[in-house]
């Protein structure tokens, strides 16, 4: 792919962001014109600058949320990928895990939050558990699915070369599943951030979720939007990092641009 072909999508993306911000600004200042309901992105940026540079008050929240997200996310990968593999390779395990997976996956996570709070207390444990619950299922399901749909020809190829079970796993099944796993990881970022927000609404004293919740309660619209925007930026950064990691891990695929 050469530079010229890459230019147009990049311009379109930048244009889309600028247009969105302009419309937001217009709606906030002209249509609504009430800072108690909606503020212009300019005010949000000013406030964010203040909280990041002048007072630095955003950092503790950012740090607290990042930490909860990180551990929940990592735990989800550590549990989800192997469990997905085991489910794909063993019918017994699949049938055993399936009802639980379906129940937990489809039930609204927010309903679990108070229960987890009850079990793990208001410390980091319950928050990490909520993030974990959000992240683990896309990863688990994709790891399972990725290994289930491996081309039969590849498995026969392994057989024709008399590869042993470990070589079949490490040389065929695992590399064939990686794109699926990483797609699951990418999906789990948004769900994980939702988990952070939910977790910090209940009995937290810091974190972006707490910041948003608190600002909403006290009708501090600029801070509310700074919190929401920070979540959005974290999501975009996380998504992009995983996408780059995908391209790095799977150079044999034509690079996956955008979604």
């Amino acid at each position: 792919m050469n530079g010229k072909q890459n230019l147009t999508p990049t311009l379109l993306r930048i244009g889309s962001v600028i247009a969105g911000l302009l419309i937001w600004h217009f709606v906030a200042t002209v249509v609504i014109n009430d800072t108690a309901i909606l503020v212009s992105p300019l005010i949000v940026v000013t406030k964010a600058y203040e909280m990041l540079v002048t007072t630095g008050e955003l950092y503790p929240h950012l740090f607290a949320s990042s930490q909860i997200f990180f551990w929940g996310f990592v735990l989800a990968i550590v549990v989800g990928v192997p469990l997905g593999f085991v489910m794909a390779l063993s019918v017994v395990v699949r049938d055993y895990v399936n009802p639980w997976m379906t129940t937990l996956y489809t039930a609204p996570r927010i309903a679990f939050a108070p229960v987890l709070l009850l079990w793990f207390g208001i410390g980091a444990g319950s928050k990490i558990a909520i993030v974990f619950l959000g992240c683990v299922f896309p990863i688990l399901i994709n790891s399972y699915f990725g290994m289930r749909v491996v081309n039969r020809e590849y498995v026969e190829l392994a057989r024709s070369f008399r590869l042993n079970r470990w070589a079949l796993f490490s040389k065929i099944l695992l590399p064939a599943s990686i794109p699926f796993i990483l797609a699951g990881v990418r999906l789990s970022i948004g769900r994980g951030l939702t988990g952070v927000a939910i977790a910090e609404w209940f009995g937290a004293t810091e974190g972006l979720g707490y910041l948003v919740f608190f600002a909403g309660q006290t009708l501090n619209v600029p801070i509310l939007f700074v919190g929401v925007a920070t979540f959005a930026v974290l999501g975009v950064i996380g998504f992009e990092l995983v996408r780059r990691f995908e391209n790095f891990m799977t150079p044999w695929r034509k690079s996956s641009q955008g979604v």
Binding site: S160, R162, A167, P175, R253
Partner: protein, 266 residues
């Protein structure tokens, strides 16, 4: 080596069915190949010729009969790599480069990474792909992919090469080139080959012997020694002996198709 390299004795394959007799795929297969022989199998589609290759290679279990390789039962040789299989489709692993694809069968069998790589490079060179070691399959044309496929099967130095319609997905021109390339490579490696194809002309051009299968359940209907010298060339396709053989084989396959209920039943 005096005895046959590959010998099939009363090989039989059927699939069990619910509420009815087992489904017979092929039966009473008796075949023997001498060292370095190139034998093609042709027959009406669905006659079990591909299944036969898979049973010989152990990708599917046999229902009855024996397979001997250099006089030893294939069951005793299962852990060894005595056969190379060239698949019909794109069976290259997309996440491996050409070199790594060829290395697949060598890893863990050849001591030392450098040595294995050296062998892989040698076979890539043999199939005419020097310089494409680091390309991924999606960067190669269909013909080049099948060259890698062939190099991969040959690299483990198998006693027998089993080829399942390897050129079926290629366009006519590439297919002709690949047929000549295969003959060149075969002459250099002196492998014993079973080549399954649905194209009679391809079978004649390549083979020492052409075996015609009956319709299902497939068994050997007839076999022909190809009355042409080597090396073969594309011009031989207009040789009267070539054309006559092609005609005879076509008539037989036509009879098989008709006696199974015609093309409408295929």
């Amino acid at each position: 080596m005096a005895g046959p390299v590959l010998e099939l004795k009363n090989l039989h394959k059927e699939l069990p069915r619910k509420d009815s007799e087992p489904f017979q795929i092929f039966k009473n297969l008796n075949l023997s190949l001498r060292d370095g022989e190139f034998v093609s199998i042709v027959g009406p589609s669905g006659c079990g010729k591909t299944t036969m290759l898979r049973v010989i290679n152990g990708l599917m279990p046999r229902s009855a009969g024996e397979i001997f390789i250099d006089g030893k039962s294939s069951k005793d040789l299962d852990h060894q790599l005595v056969m190379g299989f060239v698949f019909q489709g794109a069976s290259l692993l997309p996440w491996r480069t050409s070199l790594k694809n060829v290395l697949l069968g060598l890893e863990g069998r050849v001591k030392g990474v450098a040595e294995a790589e050296q062998i892989a490079r040698k076979y890539l060179d043999l199939v005419g792909l020097s310089g494409f070691e680091n390309n991924y399959p999606h960067e190669l044309s269909g013909g080049m992919q099948q060259r890698v496929n062939l190099a991969r099967a040959l690299a483990v130095d198998p006693r027998i090469l089993l080829m399942d319609e390897p050129f079926a997905a290629l366009d006519a021109q590439t297919r002709n080139f690949m047929q000549l390339e295969l003959l060149r490579i075969w002459a250099e490696t002196k492998k014993t080959v079973i080549f399954v194809t649905h194209m009679i002309a391809e079978a004649i051009l390549l083979s020492d012997r052409v075996i015609v299968f009956t319709h299902r359940p497939g068994t050997i209907r007839s076999e022909f020694k190809v009355p042409l010298g080597r090396p073969r060339s594309m011009e031989m396709r207009s040789d009267p002996r070539f054309l006559e053989l092609e005609n005879v084989i076509w008539k037989q396959i036509e009879e098989e198709v008709n006696s199974s209920g015609g093309f409408a039943n295929q």
